[in-house]
């Protein structure tokens, strides 16, 4: 079996007496489309923060393509190909989408610290940013200020910013949070059509979307991984039903 794109091994994290990650281990194979589900407070976002280096684990290890990254700063992990989006929009309100994505590309290429070059002369980066925005149907709005964009568009820009890093692993923290039902399927269509070599782990509450787009599901509760398996296995797992869904059947 090939090296997993991302792996967590025995991650532990406590805030005081509250254990938010309890011996979390899992593997994300290359090209995965995995869903991470669980009730509110299960520790899903905490896990993303541990994986991306926003939080440091008390114990355990994180591996990216086989290399340990447990103690790497968040920006260094991005440089190595681990990108994420945020549950609550974390955009640049006064920048345009074109500027924002160009910035992400310049950061990726290591051009951003350069203060002698002209930004307008970085046409390859601008070109690439525009093409990416076009792919996410954001080209029309690319020169408006981000804060003026409709909410659904802002969610797409979240993804565009992560994609600009050309990640090998993409962690999506509730990408469709707050997006109207009709648009969220569209948004997931975008996610489904990502290049197949990107491993994707997405947190999502809408079970219809989870079962439609995930090839495997990881279930968390109380900081622990409760179950992991194929959608059909998870749907019929009595423990998952008991803890996560209060005993009701999951309808895929």
């Amino acid at each position: 079996m090939s090296t997993p794109a991302l792996a967590a091994d025995g991650l532990m994290k406590s805030f005081g007496s509250l254990r938010v990650a309890d011996n979390v281990s899992f593997e994300l194979p290359q090209g995965a489309r995995h869903a991470l589900i669980g009730p509110n407070g299960a520790g899903k976002t905490t896990l993303v923060n541990l994986l991306t280096g926003v939080l440091a684990p008390d114990h355990g290890h994180v591996y990216l393509a086989g290399a340990e990254i447990t103690h790497l700063a968040p920006d260094r992990r991005v440089k190595r190909g681990l990108a994420r989006t945020f549950q609550i929009n974390a955009l640049f309100p006064e920048l345009t989408p074109l500027e924002s994505v160009t910035l992400a590309i310049l950061e990726r290429d290591g051009v951003a610290p350069n203060w002698r070059r002209k930004l307008g002369g970085c046409s390859a980066a601008i070109e690439e940013a525009h093409a990416l925005l076009q792919r996410l149907a954001l080209a029309e709005d690319c020169n408006r200020r981000t804060r003026e964009l409709a909410y659904g568009r802002q969610r797409l820009l979240e993804i565009a910013l992560a994609l600009a890093a050309q990640p090998k692993v993409l962690l999506l923290d509730e990408p469709a949070a707050g997006v109207p039902a009709g648009e969220s399927a569209e948004l997931f269509q975008v996610i489904a059509s990502l290049p197949s070599d990107i491993a994707v782990l997405f947190i999502e509450h809408d079970m219809h979307l989870v079962f439609r787009f995930a090839s495997r599901i990881i279930v968390m509760a109380g900081g622990r991984i409760l179950a992991e398996g194929l959608p059909a296995e998870i749907a019929h797992n009595p423990e998952v039903r008991a803890v996560y869904l209060g005993g009701t059947e999951i309808h895929a």
Binding site: R76, P93, L98, A112, W115, R117, L119, L161
Partner: protein
């Protein structure tokens, strides 16, 4: 950029278009020369304005672009001012251009050291740290009277004629042209910086510092760089004051100066480069005129103006003008 760019047909060109030099910028800079032929008795004031504008530009680089606020920015102004004086008095280094440069580098060195502290804090803690740095330095300068002259300051600091030819005359002609030329050159450099990839990353930090690491940006290193550059600018401004007035006093690095430069920048508008220049013109001309009418209460009007601007034109004077132009442009 002062005013909004017209939307170009190709969306990809918008970024380059925003950096283009416009005709009204040329007009603006030519207008800044006008005091020389028209107001020969006001050249001292005009020099003060150019120096204050350079100082405000320095603050704009960290506050307006990187979103890093400071209540003690006069510390770097003061270091430049004292260093320029000490260069002349202790070491007989009287060549003005190199003196300016060395003083700027001295301020930048201190700014670089301070930046390690600055990147660790934000919000209230950042205000307090910068305020503390300012107060600390003021007291240090007061205490080291052997070097700084303490409360009396340093006087009769005479630099060589500019380029070996132009002496600093009593009317302040040379001083004015010198200060304005330095401001212009430093402005061009700043303009270059903010329209570079680095400049865009600064705006990213201002808009959402927390997101930047998720783009792969080492935020702290980026802030250290611009803080050092900003301190260099402030130091040059301080050194200009020493060289053009021939003296330096404690008020060069007092809290009052830190507060005033913040007021000038906010009045004019942050994150636009021109805001600091316009703000310092408004502030210092108002002080000059209002102080003539009523020497005690002129600050009242500045306070009122500041409140009105912040409440009704949050982009400052330049930001307001830019918004107005955009609206007129849309209607036309």
């Amino acid at each position: 950029m002062v005013l909004a760019a017209p939307a170009p047909s190709d969306p990809r060109r918008a970024i380059a278009a925003a950096a283009r030099w416009r005709w009204y910028e040329t007009l603006f800079w030519l207008a800044l020369l006008l005091p020389y032929p028209l107001l020969p008795t006001y050249l001292d004031l005009a020099s003060q304005i150019a120096i204050a504008a350079l100082f405000a530009l320095s603050l704009d680089l960290i506050l307006g672009y990187a979103g890093v606020i400071s209540l003690g920015h006069a510390a770097f102004f003061g270091i430049g001012a004292y260093f320029a004086a000490i260069l002349v008095q202790r070491w007989g280094w009287t060549e003005p251009f190199s003196g300016l440069l060395v003083s700027g580098v001295a301020a930048a060195a201190v700014g670089y050291l301070a930046s390690f502290l600055i990147v660790r804090v934000s919000r209230l803690a950042l205000l307090m740290v910068t305020l503390g740095l300012g107060v600390l330095l003021e007291e240090a300068a007061n205490h080291l009277s052997g070097l700084t002259g303490g409360n009396d300051g340093l006087h009769e600091i005479a630099v060589m004629p500019l380029l070996g030819r132009f002496t600093f005359d009593l009317y302040g002609r040379t001083a004015f042209l010198y200060a304005l030329a330095v401001l212009f050159l430093m402005f061009l450099a700043a303009r270059r910086i903010v329209h570079s990839p680095f400049g865009l990353s600064l705006r990213g930090l201002r808009e959402n510092a927390a997101r930047m690491p998720a783009l792969g940006a080492p935020s702290r290193a980026r802030i250290r760089v611009i803080y050092t550059i900003s301190a260099f600018y402030a130091g040059i401004a301080g050194a200009l004051l020493t060289q053009t007035t021939g003296s330096v006093a404690l008020e060069a690095l007092g809290f009052q100066r830190s507060a005033e430069v913040l007021i000038m920048l906010v009045l004019g508008g942050t994150g636009r480069l021109y805001g600091g220049i316009v703000g310092s013109i408004v502030f210092l001309v108002a002080r000059d005129q209002l102080a003539d009418m009523n020497p005690q209460y002129w600050f009242f009007w500045i306070g009122l103006l500041l409140i009105l601007v912040v409440l009704f034109i949050p982009g400052g004077i330049v930001g307001g003008a830019s918004a107005l132009q955009a609206r007129l442009g849309r209607r036309a």
